[in-house]
């Protein structure tokens, strides 16, 4: 572990093994797969945000060329197909369980958001299926709809579900209310702040797709799907929706082109094509169109929050109080309820020593696409609220914003640090990441750059965010006690083949993260097998024993740790074989990177000698141990991991047009031990791109009738290369103290730390205009409106 092989082991910026395949167009995504005899499915979706379905007439459509079958909600209900399940149960303050209304795969009697699937057409070609879908007659009676997060709780708001009175899913809280009130009573100053966290559409490059396949002879089902966690889909869909035993259901997630959370969830279309394949006795393929993605992939964020921060006379934080409304959309997506609770409110302490926190969260149903985890999931919302609040509070207290942060930081000697909102941070060094970031970003020289911009009639601003997040999810017992309906361990199998090459089976899933490289580096580092001889297998329930998948920056921290444990078992067994071969006692055999050695001698055996002996056990301790060299480990983490760091952003605003340009962005993150620095840099840059997107560009906008106005790339502003600066990435490591690799995770830090850094810079740029806050996204129109209305104040 401590010795780094120069080219391939831990710490090497090895080029990604998988990129050759991807860059040459040789990836095999679900839509690239075609099964013999395959049919094509098209979903007919609701054009209404809220309506009763009075009649569906499929007669004409069924008679059209190529049509094999058309199914509606009643067809599935008639076979006792279950609703799409939710994987997390939250309890309200009063102990009652959250409202969990039925989520039928195909609508039953009512549609609740634009895009809600109403019928599926299965035909010989996709065009025939589309033609027939257009010929289905659906009589709707439109109902009043509610799309806004705040509007959902108004007394006269339209009701989305009868089973959720007042559109309330839950009313939850965390922290000590009495202590918070007491702290506020003796505060020298209370700073208030309100903000909205804009709803986002994830927009993975690859749209979702699914192929259902049924073997009528064996009775086996196979689902090929764009998933981040095929075993989770097998569990949820098999057990709760279609009632297919695990042994009869295989789920394959081959190459997947980006997920960002949106491909964690079990979606209706997966159940529909799998079930329909059994009905039509032919494979059924469905590929989402981009405009369909906008109205059916789970969206992200969408919070409305009010916060109050109590300070003492020295600018030390006494207590924080937060009230948040979170939009769940029309139905509960797989992990939706935990995002604004255990992935959000537990992060409100940030990097600060806050004695008291009290947070209340209400989740609401609306006539919009379901909302669930999106890169960062809850933690970006918490970080944004807190880091904007820190700037506002520093300004109101008359303190320098950096000094104010430093004064409240958790000090290195305070770890492990128990926050008042359940988490215990194991390690971190916020002073060092701050210092490094200030230095790299040239914080001290900013005013000169601002003056130079001013000479060009431009407004320059600089913003900082210091953050921590909780990932590497998660200890099963802990999440179980918080409402998770699954464990969150990970599984790794190390299969050493007879001639010493290695296959790794992992329950984590790579959809852009570079696992085929990083995981191979772990094996190279520990077992001394060149990465070229290490293959990573993932994404197939028929090959990988089990797994919980990839999200919450868990693949390395949890999945990598499982592999590490399995490699320990390989080494233990290998030592016994080596001891036998070298006629030494097991205690005397040492192993280091591919070589077994009798301590203090020059007697050695290579890993290949051992694997060969294990599979050709002619001279072998056959009475003591079994042949073969393959080990599996399940690793259940002891705690979350806590990456953190500092992001600094510099922007320039053109006050005439309101356009904001990001001039530079500096990230110094503590992601624990770095396995592949190049991949870490890429992950952080990608996350920052999405953070800049949230801050300046992206917004899913519903009108009052529940239509998604920003329903295509003509109106939904995805970040483009030209919107992004060079992102300087550096790491400053403190090791995770509780996993064997010392790793924390790097997948989400970019998206978590960056939005407040950008927005703090925007507000700073507008400081002469007396602006206290700007809501995301800071579009040109919005900034111009502010500049225009504050013009007199500035002049």
């Amino acid at each position: 572990m401590n010795v780094v092989t120069p080219f391939e082991g831990i710490g090497a910026s090895l080029r990604r093994k998988e990129d050759f395949r991807f860059l040459m167009g040789r990836g095999q995504y679900v839509d690239d797969l075609n099964r013999p005899g395959q049919t094509h499915a098209v979903m007919l979706r609701s054009p209404h945000a809220h309506a009763t379905i009075d009649r569906i007439d499929t007669a004409a459509a069924k008679a059209m060329p190529g049509v094999k079958a058309i199914f509606v909600g009643e067809d599935m209900a008639a076979e006792s197909i279950g609703g799409i399940p939710c994987g997390w149960q939250i309890h309200s303050k009063d102990g009652s369980p959250m409202a969990e209304p039925m989520h039928p795969a195909l609508a039953l009697g009512k549609v609740r958001h634009v895009g809600d699937p109403v019928a599926v057409v299965i035909a010989e070609t996709k065009a025939q299926a589309r033609d027939a879908a257009e010929a289905i007659i659906v009589d709707y009676t439109p109902l009043p709809a509610v799309s806004g997060t705040v509007a959902a709780l108004q007394p006269d708001a339209p009701q989305v579900h009868e089973a959720a009175p007042g559109n309330l899913c839950y009313d939850w809280h965390i922290g000590d209310k009495a202590a918070q009130e007491a702290a506020f009573a003796r505060a020298a100053r209370v700073v208030t702040f309100e903000t909205t966290n804009n709803r986002l559409v994830p927009n993975a490059m690859e749209p979702r797709a699914a192929i259902g396949d049924f073997d009528s002879f064996s009775g086996d089902y196979t689902l090929y799907t764009t998933s981040q966690n095929p075993h989770v889909i097998r569990l949820l869909m098999g057990a709760f929706v279609l009632h297919i035993p695990e042994s009869k259901l295989r789920v394959v997630a081959p190459d997947v082109g980006g997920g960002f959370g949106s491909k964690i969830y079990h979606y209706a279309e997966e159940a529909i094509v799998t079930w329909a394949a059994g009905k039509v006795k032919r494979p059924v393929k469905w590929t989402c169109e981009r405009s369909e993605s906008f109205m059916s992939d789970a969206h992200g964020r969408d919070h409305v929050s009010a916060a109050e921060l109590a300070l003492d006379a020295e600018g030390k934080i006494l207590a924080l109080k937060v009230h948040t409304l979170a939009n769940m959309g029309a139905y509960l997506s797989t992990f939706a309820p935990c995002v604004p609770t255990y992935l959000y409110a537990t992060l409100l302490s940030g990097v600060y020593a806050m004695p008291v926190i009290y947070a209340e969260v209400k989740a609401v149903f609306t006539n919009t696409v379901p909302v669930d985890a999106y890169r960062g999931a809850g933690r970006p919302e918490a970080t944004y609220l807190l880091e904007r609040l820190m700037d506002v509070a520093a300004a109101e207290a008359g303190l320098d914003k950096v000094e104010f942060r430093r004064r409240n930081f958790i000090r290195p000697d305070q770890f492990p640090y128990q926050t008042p909102v359940a988490l215990q941070y194991d390690s971190g060094d916020y002073h060092s990441t701050l210092a490094a970031c200030l230095e790299t970003a040239g914080w001290a020289g900013f005013e000169a750059r601002r003056a130079e911009s001013k000479s060009r009639k431009k407004l320059r601003g600089i913003g900082i965010s210091t953050y921590v997040e909780a990932c590497g999810i998660a200890p099963s017992a802990v999440v179980g006690s918080l409402g998770a309906r699954a464990g969150l361990y990970e599984v790794g199998t190390i299969r050493v083949h007879p001639t010493g090459s290695v296959t790794v089976l992992t329950g984590a899933h790579s959809h852009g993260q570079g696992h085929e490289t990083t995981f191979a580096q772990l094996v190279a580092d520990k077992l001394g097998v060149p990465t070229a001889n290490v293959d990573i297998v993932h994404g197939d329930t028929a090959k990988v024993p089990f797994g919980m998948g990839t999200y919450g920056s868990r693949s390395l921290a949890v999945g990598g740790s499982a592999m590490d444990k399995a490699m320990d078992k390989i080494i233990t067994k290998g030592k016994r074989i080596a001891a036998h071969l070298m006629e030494a006692s097991v205690e005397d055999v040492e192993f280091e990177r591919g070589t077994f050695r009798v301590a203090g001698t020059d007697k050695t055996k290579s890993l290949t000698d051992i694997s060969l002996a294990a599979y050709v056990p002619h001279n072998y301790p056959i009475d003591e141990i079994e042949p073969g060299l393959e080990e599996t480990a399940f690793y259940d983490p002891k705690n979350f991991t806590y990456p953190g760091g500092c992001h600094i952003c510099e922007v320039e605003i053109d006050p005439e047009t309101g356009r904001t340009e990001v001039l530079n962005f500096t990230a110094v993150d503590d992601v624990g031990r770095v396995i592949n620095p190049m991949i870490v840099e890429g992950q952080v840059q990608g996350g920052v791109a999405q953070g800049i997107g949230q801050a300046l560009l992206e917004a899913a906008i519903y009108d009052a009738s529940g239509q998604l106005v920003s329903g295509s790339f003509m109106d939904y502003t995805m970040p483009r290369a030209g919107d992004l600066p060079d992102v300087g990435v550096a790491t400053h490591t403190t090791l995770c103290t509780h996993n064997p690799l010392g790793v924390k995770g790097c997948g989400e830090v970019g998206a978590i730390g960056s939005p407040p850094a950008v927005m703090n810079a925007v507000v700073d740029a507008l400081r002469d205009y007396g602006v206290r806050h700007v809501e995301m996204p800071a579009t040109p129109q919005k900034i111009w409106g502010i500049v225009n209305s504050h013009r007199l104040a500035a002049e």
Partner: protein, 265 residues
Amino acid sequence: MYDFAYHKPASVADAVKILASDPEARPISGGMTLLPALKLRLNKPTAVVDLSGIAELRGVKREGDKLVIGALTRHFEVATSAEVKAAIPALAAMANTIGDTQVRNRGTMGGSVANNDPSADYPAALLALGATIQTDKRTVPADEFFNGMFTTVLEVGELVTAIHIPIPEKAGYAKMRNPASRYSMAGVFVAKGAAGVRVAVNGAGANGVFREKAMEAALAANWSPDAVAAVKVDAGLMNGDIHGSAEYRAHLVTVMAKRAVVDAG
């Protein structure tokens, strides 16, 4: 896409004949506008008449004090043409800002002009430059050709064949892009030439591309950014959407006019 018949004629005469025989047939040039509409099933032509094989529709040439640009000339060709760059550099520069590389290598001037998207770039240039649009039947001055949003005087089956553009003394263009689509949200093309000063605006007007007469008068009196800076545009005549209210667009027109004058020099 719905099914349609496909024709690829080799001459304008043949194309016009096919179009005349079927009022539901549509010409296609670069397909950058028509194809997405077909794929989204927003359009259901019986036949598509592909103009790309008609050699006579291609190319840029200089005829005296005019440029003549064939309808099939692609944005990339306009952007890189030595003739255009020498005669009307602002037009070449504009072409280089249309869409992205792929779009510029497919989209054509004739297609853009016939489509008259209110946010498209070329219509403002042609209006400001006092161009005439030549069709298979007639020539129409740009002032009469563009007729509000997505409408022109073209009759069903009538083809744009070439655009004749008088070479100005100077011209300039500036636009503010819609952050999502990157089409113009307010673009202003200014030109000074034999026909005087002309200013045309795209992206902003409630009724498509239009000439801004007050700015023309201001610039005729005093060709300077300051002259147009003083001209305020009536928000009541502007378009509004989630990216830009009518007030914002009205403001942007003035800002872009200033910048266009700077661009023109």
